[in-house]
Symmetry: C2
Subunit: 465 residues, 2 copies
Amino acid sequence: MVTRSALELSVLDRIRPQADERTHIHAIAGRLINSVNQSGSATGMIVGSVARDTWIRGDRDLDIFMLFPPDLPREALEAEGLALARRVVESAGGTSREKYAEHPYINAIIDGLDVDIVPCYAVHDAAAIQSAVDRTPFHTRYIKDRIRNLIDDVLLLKQFAKSGGIYGSDQMTEGFSGYLCELLVDHYGGFIPLISAAQDWWPGVLIDSSDHRTKTFHEPLVVVDPVDPRRNVSASVSLTRMCEFIELCRGYLERPGVEFFSLPVPASGSGESVAMLIEKRKTTLYTITFQTPPYIEEIVVPQLRKSLDAISALLTRHEFVVNRAAYCMHADRCILLFELVTGSLPPVTRHFGPPLWARENARQFSEKYIRGMEEGRIFSGPYIENGIYVVELARRYCNAGDLLISPSLLDVGLGRHVKAALSGSLTVKSGLDCLDEDFTDFIRSFLEKASPLTQIRQLENRTSV
Amino acid sequence: MVTRSALELSVLDRIRPQADERTHIHAIAGRLINSVNQSGSATGMIVGSVARDTWIRGDRDLDIFMLFPPDLPREALEAEGLALARRVVESAGGTSREKYAEHPYINAIIDGLDVDIVPCYAVHDAAAIQSAVDRTPFHTRYIKDRIRNLIDDVLLLKQFAKSGGIYGSDQMTEGFSGYLCELLVDHYGGFIPLISAAQDWWPGVLIDSSDHRTKTFHEPLVVVDPVDPRRNVSASVSLTRMCEFIELCRGYLERPGVEFFSLPVPASGSGESVAMLIEKRKTTLYTITFQTPPYIEEIVVPQLRKSLDAISALLTRHEFVVNRAAYCMHADRCILLFELVTGSLPPVTRHFGPPLWARENARQFSEKYIRGMEEGRIFSGPYIENGIYVVELARRYCNAGDLLISPSLLDVGLGRHVKAALSGSLTVKSGLDCLDEDFTDFIRSFLEKASPLTQIRQLENRTSV
């Protein structure tokens, strides 16, 4: 018998689905399943948190899968699947729109409920899947019974993760999926046993309940999928999210508090207060803003990340010291933000040549610089330092802004769609000009960056004063 | 039979000792040797370039060694040696002063000639020496006959090295001694064969004519002493001087010119012209000046070098980027010069903590910063980056000048006498205030730094225009 703390019991009271909510959802789900089954072409199945009774109150999305025979050709599956889903939604009195993940599916609003209706193949074995969605029914079948007695634990973990900003396996979050939360609770046997164990996780920790993995994984957190020995369920979890979870677990066990389950969204503030933060730091901010490429977040966000790294490396190559950088994607515009220790550098820069004993390279270097072909650019040298030729040249970009608007920006590894967007049009701003209504909150949280546990402790300090 | 170029022949005409000069020196040397021998307590011997006829015209210093029996106690050798040397000088009508290397000796002016008279032990074998000077007579005996037919080659090499600023094994120069020049010419069989071979030297090149070394040497250039298998004759040659020599050899063979034997001393210029150089670079200079410690160059210069490195490292630790640094020792004052990319930094700096999985360290870090004990210093964080705790703190020194006048300066590895001098009194200046009459030429040559070959080629370009 599990003993819950008063805190956890009160959290559960707040987050457990209510009876009428459960009745309402299952009624809709039942109608949709019937409707799918009656079509004769596919079998309906509830998956996701509704199937397992593990949704947080008010936060339910209904996922209905339609399992088609595996010999149906892919195009037919997509066409028939979408058509059937539309009919099912229509008969339930809802409104449909088409969406895309690996394959198209239907998202609908039915009686105020957000429902995804997804066609997939009814394969006989998880190893025989034709697309990632085919694996989902196996997850539901596997986990449903195993966590029947751990539902409260799953709810606590999900709320804990959501509150800490680490819930969600999307590219923006890089955190913990619902299925991962369920597997972890199952593996450790409850919320408290899990977070006790997680305190001592390290990058590379391996959890393989079924002891059946058939490959080596290189992600920081490895939880082998019980239904597929080749898959890491936590592949999407970044090292930072993993460490933030570890830190939250330690913090909670050391000094539990309601904030671990209800961290408020940081209050948004005025542009002036952000301007004060910028001026206090005396660093130089640069932003690049541009139109969001017309692709989904899962495609664009990895490219933003890649672009951020590539442009940071470009700045570093030109000797601008990047303190930190971050990106943000909105529906209409994206922003890349760089904080530099200084935005301007002196006109002289050292250029390192070959060692003297690499004779042919040394000859070419000395030809180029000693013979004066580059005389106009030379401040001093060539001279020799630690056996290496050095020459001091006029710096190409004394100002980081000039570098960021130069054609060099498009030569670094930006990712295809970001490159296309930047080639079209971009805006580079610096200092207080970076303050942009749409991104004020993003810039504030960048400047006030703090781990989830830090935010919780700060909140406690403020409250206790 | 060696064929000399017209250039080399004309250089030799200029640098070979003249007949009357040789007669004059040998007459004085003869008198001094007689005088030593007549004392009955020691045997006189001419050593150095006069003994080998390898001095450059006008540049002769006479070295007379007095060889005492090896069973004489050290104190008696010093006392008797100095007394005898004084008597010998007096009888020759010269004026004496005492000087110190490893041991005291007498420096005299006799008939306008600079003469060192040095007591040493007449050991039977170079392996049995009691002090470094005891080795010198062995050098003379070894090399004298071997280079009898290579004297012009030695003269050319010495002039070549002097002109390039790499002649002299003292701490300030870190270059080639006269004996090393003689050994190299002997080993390769002449000036041109030597410089042809030196083009392809690399750090660690080993020259062991007698094939008898008994240890491994770690200096960049290794020339094993034929009279002592445990000694590297070129131990004093720095990697930079070695590479400058390599570069000069390549440059001379590629395009010979008289400048390789007569590079003029760079013209000194006004303070204003140096100020213009400083302003053009837009970097920030800092100087530390202080009284020269009351010790010889061979003691002080290595400490200046050590101090320069230690203070550069201090600046780097505090995130000031040092472009270059240099030192200079004058009789009364020393200067340490640092060129920084920027002399001031923003007030925020990132402080890196332990990785999250080093649990006890992580706990201590989070105690310190998350619990707010350091709250006043925190700009943002702690947050997690690549699995590591990071916190952004108020920078201790935003201005490099404040760091250089702080007590931290005396905590770095300065060398004993430099530390004592800096503890007494030091002056820190920045920017144009660094211009100091005594060190204007030093600062100019720092700003215009160029290898010897670069200087020669610049001179050619200027002449040919």
